[in-house]
């Protein structure tokens, strides 16, 4: 199994979720993060000097998938989260040693 983690622009979350459904993805976990990268934020005007805001709001998605699905999931995320503008984010893939559904105790692919 793989865990696919993606850092995306917040307003793309819904699009990504919808792109994953046809692949049979039934669950995922999202969280609010702050991203630092090439994209620079706006300039502050009042109440502080002018400077570039370095951290911008992003959403992190984590979705555990079986090995054979991983590539298609990465592709679906890339396509649906893509705007072509700087700051679109990253996708990272990890090996998963084990997975378990708490409710039933099922493990591995059945747990996803």
């Amino acid at each position: 199994m793989k865990l696919v983690m993606a850092i995306i622009k917040p307003f793309k979350l819904e699009d990504v979720r919808q792109a994953l459904t046809p692949l049979g993805i039934q669950g995922l976990t999202a969280s609010e993060v702050k991203g630092y990268g090439r994209q620079k934020g706006q300039t502050e005007i009042y109440r502080g000097a002018e400077y570039n805001v370095s951290f911008l709001p992003k959403v992190k998605i984590e979705v555990a998938v079986s090995d054979d699905l991983a590539a298609r999931v990465v592709e679906a995320i890339q396509t649906s989260a893509h705007t072509g503008k700087i700051g679109d984010g990253k996708i990272f893939v990890f090996d998963l040693v084990n997975a378990m559904r708490i409710r039933t105790g099922e493990t591995n692919d059945e747990a996803l």
Binding site: I45, Y46, R47, G48, A49
Partner: protein, 441 residues
């Protein structure tokens, strides 16, 4: 506000008046003023409104502009100043500011006849008014509270709580009380006698706090990370709520300064509103032009700038004057909080000087321009009395010099003893946790 000497005889008419057929208004009676319940009702309410300006108004306005780690500490500053000044004012501050004083110091200070408010009975009237002295004392207290609370804006994010409490104590007695005395002590105050117009505190409150803030931020130094880190406000909604409550409460501040519920109070309220609205519009418009996006913080700052600038003028100017003062204040204070600050390079964290200092000076001077004989009895430049502008400038200068010098000495004294500024670790960790042991979750 102390200038309103005409006394409405109020509810308890003397029989003499009743017998004088056709006397429509009681104002022709010159005997000792009697309590007017309507005026008293209005001043009770005005006192509540002005207290609301500081807590929660100003507390929120400032807390909404700091980073998350300093929000509680910022609220705490306004709240604690409210408590501290309440006690100080009752014990000695009011006496110093509003009694007549003796001899050579009388133009600058009152005397000790009202220490602990002794001598202020239930039925004593405030001199020259139709309201109980207790209500007058309380109303003035709310002004004494908000002024030091305003200056903290320049020191936000780095001032020690202990140092602040010490500073406010000294400052209230050595800066606020004398300047309030000079401007408002009816019989002896220096600037009032000169003829300087300050209806509701352009000099006493706004220039005073703005200048003390500026001196403070020069001495305390810039926040760590200034110019390199993001100081983006964590919760601007607080700033909007705070600005709104300041706006609403300002009716008590300005219209209340009439000390009576009449047409002059109504006019003061009118120009207050027009100036606030016009300044918000002008600030937003400029920002939209220059920065492409009108910001919520800009709208709030604009409204406050207008309110500051109209403060000395309310009670003296007509509606059109109020509108113009607002439009000008919005533009000038926008520059005060951006251009001027960047030019000079000081870190006036929440723009106490940029908005209150600059706005207060603009307002004090424009009062001399737009003063209308029909409204407040004194003509201004536009009515052929250019001398008033000069007078106003003199008032501004005296305030700036007194405030800057004494504030400077006080800051230095405290810096050498308690120390003004928190440690770098405390500053980085945030004042909420490091000073008060609390965290906003």
């Amino acid at each position: 506000m102390k200038l309103n000497r005409s006394v409405a005889a109020g509810i308890a008419l003397t029989a003499g008046l009743c017998l004088t057929a056709g006397a429509a208004m009681a104002q022709s009676a010159t005997p000792a003023p009697v309590l007017n319940k309507a005026d008293t009702a209005w001043m009770l309410v005005s006192t509540a409104l002005v207290l609301m300006m500081t807590i929660p108004g100003l507390a929120l306005f400032y807390a909404g502009m700091v980073r998350k780690k300093n929000i509680l500490a910022t609220l705490m500053q306004s709240f604690s100043i409210t408590a501290l000044v309440t006690v100080l004012w009752g014990v000695i501050g009011y006496s110093l500011a509003f009694t007549d004083g003796h001899g050579a110091t009388a133009p600058f200070f009152g005397d000790f006849s009202r220490v602990l408010l002794f001598g202020m009975g239930k039925d004593t009237l405030a001199p020259g008014t139709t309201i109980p002295e207790s209500v007058f004392m309380m109303y003035q207290m709310t002004f004494a509270i908000i002024t030091p609370a305003l200056l903290v804006g320049s020191l936000a994010d780095r001032i020690k709580f202990s140092a602040l409490m010490a500073f406010v104590t000294g400052w209230l007695l050595l800066v606020y009380a004398p300047i309030a005395h000079m401007v408002w002590a009816a019989n002896t105050g220096l600037l009032g006698k000169w003829g300087v117009l300050d209806f509701a505190g352009g000099t006493v409150v706004h220039i005073n706090s703005g200048v003390a803030g500026l001196v403070g931020c020069l001495i305390v130094g810039k926040r760590k990370g200034f110019g390199t880190e993001s100081f983006a406000p964590a919760n601007l909604s607080y700033a909007l709520i705070g600005a709104s409550l300041l706006w609403v409460g300002w009716f008590g501040f300005n219209a209340g300064s009439a000390m009576t519920a009449d047409g002059r109070a109504g006019m003061a309220m009118t120009v207050t509103q027009l100036a606030a609205g016009a300044a918000a519009v002008s600030w937003i418009a400029i920002e939209w032009l220059i920065r492409k996006k009108p910001s919520a913080l800009g709208a709030a700052s604009g409204a406050v700038a207008g309110l500051v600038a109209i403060t000395p003028a309310s009670g003296y100017v007509a509606p059109a004057g109020g509108l113009v003062i607002g439009l000008v204040a919005g533009a000038v204070c926008f520059w005060g909080a951006t251009g001027l600050k960047h030019m000079m390079g000081y870190d006036d964290s929440l723009d106490s000087f940029g908005v209150h200092g600059v706005g207060g000076i603009v307002g004090a001077l424009l009062t001399g321009v737009f003063a209308d004989k029909e409204i407040g009895g004194t003509p201004g430049l536009l009515q052929g009395h250019p001398g008033q502008v000069l007078l106003q400038a003199e008032g501004v200068m005296v305030t700036i010099v007194w405030c800057a010098v004494v504030s400077f000495l006080l800051y230095k004294l405290i810096d050498k003893t308690i120390g003004l500024r928190v440690s770098v670790e405390e500053e980085i960790e945030g004042l909420d946790y490091s000073l008060h042991g609390e965290i906003l979750h």
